[in-house]
């Protein structure tokens, strides 16, 4: 006698205010998850794997003789940039940078920020006060100014970009983790877990984190996109990946200089940037609906 409940419950008849158990589980069709996810996987595979297994022209050190070739030229499907470098190859290697930066910044934020936020939300008191102040300070830093300072002081490089962006990623995740933990803390099952004898660390690992994961993961996807854009912006300003290393941002900057003559130099990297970020956003949104995150 264990017929599962109908999903679509009409207005509850329940005798007392029982919370609706089945959260409005996503009306998001699976396509909205798999299409962007598929695209991202393909793009990442292209950026990281393709150059290893299929010879592409090097992204740097091109000869000036081949400068400014249009797309669909022999040997250069997307043409070459003003320095003679193959555009497709620069897109792929630039994509590596974008994914690396996005992933690192998100991962650092998720792990460091997430743990700090959970600690602050679960233990409250002095720990919460201290951690919250630290997070507030980090978030108060003006983003680009800090990146500027780091770039100026330490010299531009991918690693420095990651550090600079991580300074904002950590408090962002920290806040989400903290508020999620605060909300969960009030749930009866947390009290039940404590009364069952479970100790703090066990409760955090097995109860708190699994329940705030949906929020954190959807935020992570959106944050990934933001990190990619920020890296692009920094590189565009010359504060990110130093030339001649490829980066979508610096490619756009270069393309800007020849915008009227060969607009595709700017449009191609912009298109990739756009596609990557939109996919991340759509995926994040669809998962958010699916998992019932508010």
């Amino acid at each position: 006698m264990s017929a599962p409940l109908p999903d679509l419950l009409p207005a509850p008849d329940a005798a007392s205010a029982v919370p609706v158990r089945t959260k409005a589980r996503g009306q998001a069709s699976p396509l909205r998850v798999w299409i962007p996810a598929g695209f991202l996987i393909l793009l990442a595979a292209a950026c990281f794997i393709w150059p290893q297994i299929y010879p592409v022209p090097k992204p740097v050190g091109g000869s000036i003789l081949e400068a400014g070739l249009p797309p669909l030229s022999p040997g250069h499907i997307l043409g070459t940039d003003p320095n003679g470098n193959d555009v497709l190859s620069r897109i792929l290697y630039g994509g590596q940078v974008s994914f690396e930066v996005g992933f690192s910044v998100t991962a650092i934020g998720l792990v460091v920020g997430g743990l700090l936020g959970v600690a602050a939300g679960y233990w409250r008191g002095a720990a919460d006060a201290a951690i919250s102040r630290v997070l507030d300070v980090l978030i108060a830093f003006p983003a680009l100014v800090l990146a500027l300072v780091i770039a100026e002081g330490l010299g531009p490089s991918e690693l420095h970009v990651i550090w600079a962006l991580a300074i904002f990623s950590i408090p962002a995740f920290g806040r989400i983790a903290r508020s999620g933990t605060l909300a969960i803390r009030e749930q009866t099952y947390m009290l039940a877990a404590r009364l069952s004898g479970s100790r703090g660390r066990h409760i955090i690992l097995r109860h708190v984190i699994p329940n705030i994961m949906p929020q954190l993961m959807t935020f992570a996807l959106l944050g990934f996109g933001i990190a990619i854009i920020l890296e692009g912006a920094l590189s565009f300003l010359g504060l990110g990946i130093p030339l001649p290393e490829p980066s979508w941002g610096s490619m756009i900057a270069q393309g800007q200089q020849v915008l009227s003559a060969t607009p595709e130099q700017a449009l191609i990297p912009s298109a990739f940037l756009f596609a990557a970020v939109v996919s991340l956003n759509v995926l994040g949104d669809a998962l958010r609906e699916r998992w019932g995150v508010r």
Partner: protein, 344 residues
Amino acid sequence: MNTVSGPLLEVENLTVSFPGRRGELRAVIGVSYSLDPQQTLAIVGESGSGKTVSCRALMGLLPQAAVVTGSARFQGDELLGLTDDELRRHRGTNLAMVFQDPSRSLNPTMKVGNQIAEAVRVHQRVTKAEAKKQAIELLRLVHIPVPGRRFHEYPHQLSGGMRQRIMIAIALACRPRLLIADEATTALDVTTQAQIMELLLELRAELGMTLMLISHDLGLARSCADEVIVMYAGQIVEQASTPQLFTHVRMPYTQALFEAIPRLERPAHSPLPVIGGRPPDLSALPAGCSFAPRCRRAADDCRTTAPPLAEHEPGHRWACWHPVGQGGPGGWVPPEGTVWHDVR
């Protein structure tokens, strides 16, 4: 009882279904009844019985996805399938509803008096001052002391019982002919519940209103209603006047409900007579009688053919092939020595 103008509400073959992931979810199946003016009808059932859905269908409060067929006529006017504008004509002036949880139905950022005044102004073209006057009068009607001052308070400053009175005041803003109370006292304490029920009955007499109570509480139905309808799995399974139902139960489900309620007279630690199982999945109802899988008296014919709801005795309808007490007069009578706790 004024029978000259005929029944106030006539529901005929009302059916509501929702599209579900595993098939159609039939929440209300072929419900028919009629309500006379100034009568008090109680519709009793558990979760999933369809009692709330059927009444929300009357008020036009179901989600878009609901498929509603059948007819519900309020003094001859059809209520089903109306547009929002047409519904607005009925809501408030003819039909009004009070819901279960007042804290969720009241706007926490608006003064309670203004919420009542707003209800007044929706249906009458009056000035703000006139609406305020009427609102204070309504507060007095629902026995809220010092109504002039309470007008300016916010919902969170009031207790549960007071908030429910505000909800009643809002529902009464335009003196509806029919008031539907959907589990209106379920979320309240028992002492507050008694006060609110007394208020509703008083208002019924004072305003010549008809009252429809939806509840899971049989005791409430017994003490306040003239007529009781029992619903199970979307259908009416028994209907009778209150005295008749509570002395001559016929439907085994109703009997099971009676027996399962803890009563003060029962000695401590006595096991409650209970039937196993759970209400059926509304998207996969069994063939035959929906209650058969759990019924002590079920026989083969119960499992193949659904019994029709018919008036087997004057004023008492039921849907059962093997009702309690069949073959003899009367139905199940409460066991020797049982006293329904008298309220004096």
